[in-house]
């Protein structure tokens, strides 16, 4: 297996973010924040029981 030359790869031209990558990031964050808010609310109504 060839070992990647990390130093030279870091100096290569930057790959621009594709629309699908932007959608992946945006949807992940959006769904994540909404779900977290729902879970925090659920946590309020279903507290840990000892």
């Amino acid at each position: 297996m060839s070992q990647p030359d990390l130093r030279s790869e870091l100096n290569a031209p930057v790959e621009p973010l594709l629309p699908i990558e932007k959608r992946l990031i945006g949807w992940s964050l959006g769904i994540g924040i909404v779900l977290l808010v729902i879970l925090v609310a659920l946590n309020h109504f279903v507290p840990i029981k000892l």
């Binding site: 790869e9 790959e15 973010l17 964050l29 769904i31 977290l36 879970l39 507290p47 029981k49 000892l50």
Partner: protein, 490 residues
């Protein structure tokens, strides 16, 4: 890990990882099954060595079961070593390892790692309460409990990696932190179940909160870190995906699984994995002590935080163990004695929940990459979810479910005998933890990693971890766990 893994090709690396998962599952289940025999009266693991806190080292070791007291501490240690050597040698032979080299290296690894554990049980290191100090006739102690041995093992590994590289290279056949921790996690299912059976409400509450960990790791951490790696640091997609997965999900396994899913060159996720291990070491050395200092009054927040912040299974779960020992020690010094197991159970539950979805996330990324980024004839297949699923998790779930059923759904006699059986299995869980920590230390040659151009990769990790992951993890842990404490020991 980098030296070992870099030399293998992608299909072999993937196959080896999958086989390692199955091997861990088999060995973990074997330990669990043998321990369960004691429920029926056949104590076949009672010879396993157990270490107690000591001032006279000749009293430190003993077999776990009194029925094997005739073996003595030394005999129990030798029996434990021999049993592990035989089982692991057979196991690694299925992975294509050189059994002779493994056996020689494992002998040294076991000796140093277990020696570290024994050192960590020295009363001046491990004794916690004033009563214990009085019992041992000592005036001071680091109060680390005997689980301080994890830190000693880690430091021993780090010393070898950074100051005796020749020895580190000689040991590498037996330096298998992922295998050791996967076996430990399978066995841990019994401990978690027995602990959970005693407090079902809390256990179910912990399971509910695992969902928050999944959301945080996959949907928030991953997206932010991927953006940071791509936009701020200019990394290619091939580097950014394993990097984001390694930092946000669960370290080595996630980096390799998602790297495979996007068809990254095999060396890329492997090099990222080395970085993950290094940072995991740094985190384990720092975070439990921060948790002890700032979160000792919120033990479950601390446990969840460790599970969310430390990104390899081994380091996270063992970090949870260290955190538990440190917090219980501090609480005991303040006159509060918590039941053991809850902080570690919180860390483990959070981590296990995150682990379970690696396969799903690898599939999602594989689907996007094959259909939108690297468009080609290949289509991502649903079976990839199964192929990428960490199989040892099945073992943890199975052991947990069986133990829970035995504790709650069987006869009172079995339920009563189960904790002792789980304790025997737990002896091996502890040993695999020690081997894991020593192995992680041995893999962490800081100078070599720096020479490979890790500075910029490390910068992404540093910025993400200390600028975002730790604090968001703390916030989420606080939101979900603050105000709730482990039950007090009776």
């Amino acid at each position: 890990m980098s030296d070992i893994a870099v030399k293998v090709s992608e299909p072999i690396a993937l196959r080896a990882r999958l086989n390692e998962d199955w091997l861990a599952l088999v060995i973990g289940l074997l330990v669990f099954a043998l321990a369960l025999l004691s429920v029926g009266g056949a104590d076949v693991l009672g010879w396993a060595v157990n270490t107690s806190v000591y001032t006279d080292v000749t009293t430190a070791l003993a077999p776990i079961a009194k029925a094997y007291a005739w073996l003595g501490g030394g005999g129990a240690l030798l029996a434990t070593y021999a049993a592990l050597l035989v089982v692991l040698s057979i196991g690694v032979s299925t992975l294509g390892a050189d059994v002779k080299k493994f056996a020689i290296a494992f002998t040294a690894v076991f000796a140093i790692a277990y020696g570290s554990w024994i050192l960590g049980s020295y009363a001046h290191i491990a004794a916690v309460t004033p009563a214990e100090q009085q019992k041992f006739g000592i005036g001071w102690s680091l109060k680390l409990t005997n689980e301080g041995g994890y830190v000693v093992a880690l430091i021993a590994g780090l010393i070898i990696a950074n100051f005796i590289p020749g020895l580190a290279n000689w040991l590498k056949e037996a330096i298998r932190p992922e295998l050791y921790i996967k076996i430990a996690i399978v066995i841990l299912g019994a401990t978690v179940a027995v602990t959970a059976a005693g407090r079902l409400n809390l256990a179910s509450s912990l399971l509910l909160r695992g969902a928050a960990a999944i959301v945080e790791a996959y949907l928030i951490y991953w997206a932010v870190i991927y953006y940071v790696a791509r936009k701020w640091f200019g990394f290619s997609r091939e580097w950014s995906v394993p990097l984001a997965s390694g930092i946000s999900i669960c370290g080595v396994a996630a980096a390799i699984a998602t790297g495979g899913a996007i068809r990254a060159r095999p060396a890329v996720p492997v090099l990222v994995s080395s970085l993950v291990v290094v940072f995991a070491v740094v985190e384990v050395l720092i975070l439990p002590f921060l948790a002890q200092t700032f979160l000792w009054q919120e033990p479950l927040v601390a446990g969840a935080w460790i599970g969310l912040a430390i990104k390899t299974d081994g380091a996270a779960v063992a970090g949870g163990g260290i955190t538990e020992s440190l917090i219980m020690a501090k609480a005991a010094a303040e006159g509060i004695k918590y039941q053991p197991g809850w902080i570690l159970a919180t860390t483990t539950t959070v981590k296990i929940f995150i682990d379970i979805f690696i396969g799903v996330w690898a599939f999602v990324l594989g689907y996007i990459w094959t259909n939108y980024i690297d468009k080609g004839p290949d289509k991502a297949k649903p079976i990839e979810i199964w192929q990428r699923f960490p199989k040892f998790i099945l073992g943890f779930i199975f052991v947990f479910a069986v133990s829970m059923w035995l504790a709650l759904g069987s006869t009172p006699e079995i339920a009563k005998a189960l904790p002792a059986a789980a304790s025997e299995a737990n002896v091996f869980r502890v040993i695999f933890f020690i081997l894991t920590f020593f192995s992680i230390g041995v893999l962490s040659d800081f100078r070599k990693l720096w020479q490979q151009g890790f500075g910029k990769l490390a910068a992404v990790y540093f910025v993400s971890l200390f600028g975002f992951v730790i604090w968001v993890g703390l916030l989420i842990s606080w939101l979900f766990f603050s105000g709730f404490k482990p039950p007090l020991a009776s």
